[in-house]
Symmetry: C2
Amino acid sequence: MLHTLHATPKTVHWGYFDASLAPVLRVKSGDLVQIEAVTHHAGDAPDLLMDKDIERLYREIPESDRNPGVHIMTGPIYIEDARPGDTLEVRYLQMAVRLPYGSNLAANWGHLYKEFDEKERVTIYSVDINSNQAEALFAYDFPGKYTIPGTITQPKDCCREPALEGVRVPIRPHLGTAGVAPDVRGRVSTIPPGAHGGNIDNWRIGAGATMYYPVAVDGALFSVGDPHISQGDGEISGTAIESSLNVLFQVVLRKDFAFPSPLLETPAEWIVHGFDPDLNVAMRQASLEMLRLLTEHQRLSRNDAYSLMSIAADFVVTQVVDGRQGIHARIPRGIFPPRKLSL
Amino acid sequence: MLHTLHATPKTVHWGYFDASLAPVLRVKSGDLVQIEAVTHHAGDAPDLLMDKDIERLYREIPESDRNPGVHIMTGPIYIEDARPGDTLEVRYLQMAVRLPYGSNLAANWGHLYKEFDEKERVTIYSVDINSNQAEALFAYDFPGKYTIPGTITQPKDCCREPALEGVRVPIRPHLGTAGVAPDVRGRVSTIPPGAHGGNIDNWRIGAGATMYYPVAVDGALFSVGDPHISQGDGEISGTAIESSLNVLFQVVLRKDFAFPSPLLETPAEWIVHGFDPDLNVAMRQASLEMLRLLTEHQRLSRNDAYSLMSIAADFVVTQVVDGRQGIHARIPRGIFPPRKLSL
């Protein structure tokens, strides 16, 4: 069955996951969901990044209700029969550009904020869906400090200047933040990623990819947000090219398979994640999660898995932004003999 | 002009760079060099990884002369007219397998040594140069602790067991260690990478890649070693598939271009490196080197460069092994307008 979920003031929650939120949609395993994921950076160029329905979200959801994180999340979606300990398999099928523009903010939480004398700057990109490329349209120094999620900066409030002339980057639309509700009382910030998924910011979570999220509460309560047009591994300035996306996915409830951290599958690779403010710790976690994948699910011996990780797994900085650092490890699927993995 | 340099007890130095070493070859800018790079892990399966000439190196170079690092380096090569401040451009043209076998050691300096109860283990791989794939041939627990570079373990000294049945990994032959002599008195360990290059362990330093090394002493004194058949980013067990390679490269002396850290160019990307035992620090260094590449050589403004790094540069753990940690940053070449970079 195909469900459609628009992003309206009644179907989004801004800045948090919350296990006590009433579901806005109920689906069964196998169902398809067409859903709107709306960027929380539409205010960086409201003339380009907002349509009437996005404007309404920004107008009707008060600033005081956007916390403790920053992302606009559509959901939650209740998956029938999902119980803690199950795995929610989400097959991302399509990520379509809603408005062909996006915003990159060099943010106060960016990796080189001090090196840039604590200046914040917005660069607006336009997207050519024909060539699948983006190029900068203009940029401006952000007036003041970017502390309120959904801040709106009108053209008259800033000085729009040319930027990155002649440079065109490939686009790779994906969800920066998506996940199930953690089993925690009250609001959980959307900012730090974790076992529930959340703000993983891996640009491989796009169309064609499948994510496995460990279910923590009845119904899973899955939400999506923080859509990106493109991001480098590291997301070094603090943001990607942030842009609203219309997303089609299928949910499959798995009771036969469990993995304790968000597992990502692309046509070519399996990818595990480690999260910690200290990259050295995130690195060790990613190593141990890869060891787990190869031993528990690929059924290699520990010895074999360790050797294989050293010669064929690539460890990559997912994001480095303060408080949400992560390292992921990728292993090609094609190196294994057929039909061995328990996925 | 094409020069040939065999690895003999007189043309290798084991474990160190040294600016006072007499050159074993003198070449001019533009010359080609066919050179033998010999693995220091040939002793892990001497029946497979050694031929007579490799045996001779291990026999004639005393253990007491293999320090303070571990790698067998062929060279140094003196490049005529090279002076401190110049850049040595090395175009790697060919990396041919010498013997179709290699060794991966889960080493005492590996990332998960403690998690493996301080056990060391060797996995021997065979290489199929037809399919460009490697597969494990056997593995054994290393008897004792692997502390002497070039240790020889005969088949009778260990218990060879089957390993990684059915798994085949793509090979990507490259040099783990190559570089110019640092401007330092006495021996400099080959283990930590640095401005001179050295043990960078980036698997992209293979045929088709070009490296730019900052020259520190007259003649540059370039040496190569530590050949690898394959490695994952991270090199998590402490080693790659270590295997001797015959390497063809061209040297070009550049007085028109400088970069303070080892810069790598592949057909698709430019890659800069940060090195530090703390991955958080290595990450910052790699960011700043990418900023430098984009501003000084791609001539972007700092603002533009920072935005571009966030949306299109990928930050990757080159290696995580104790004392030689590094992170590199990759940016696609195809995103820039033609003929702008000063390389």
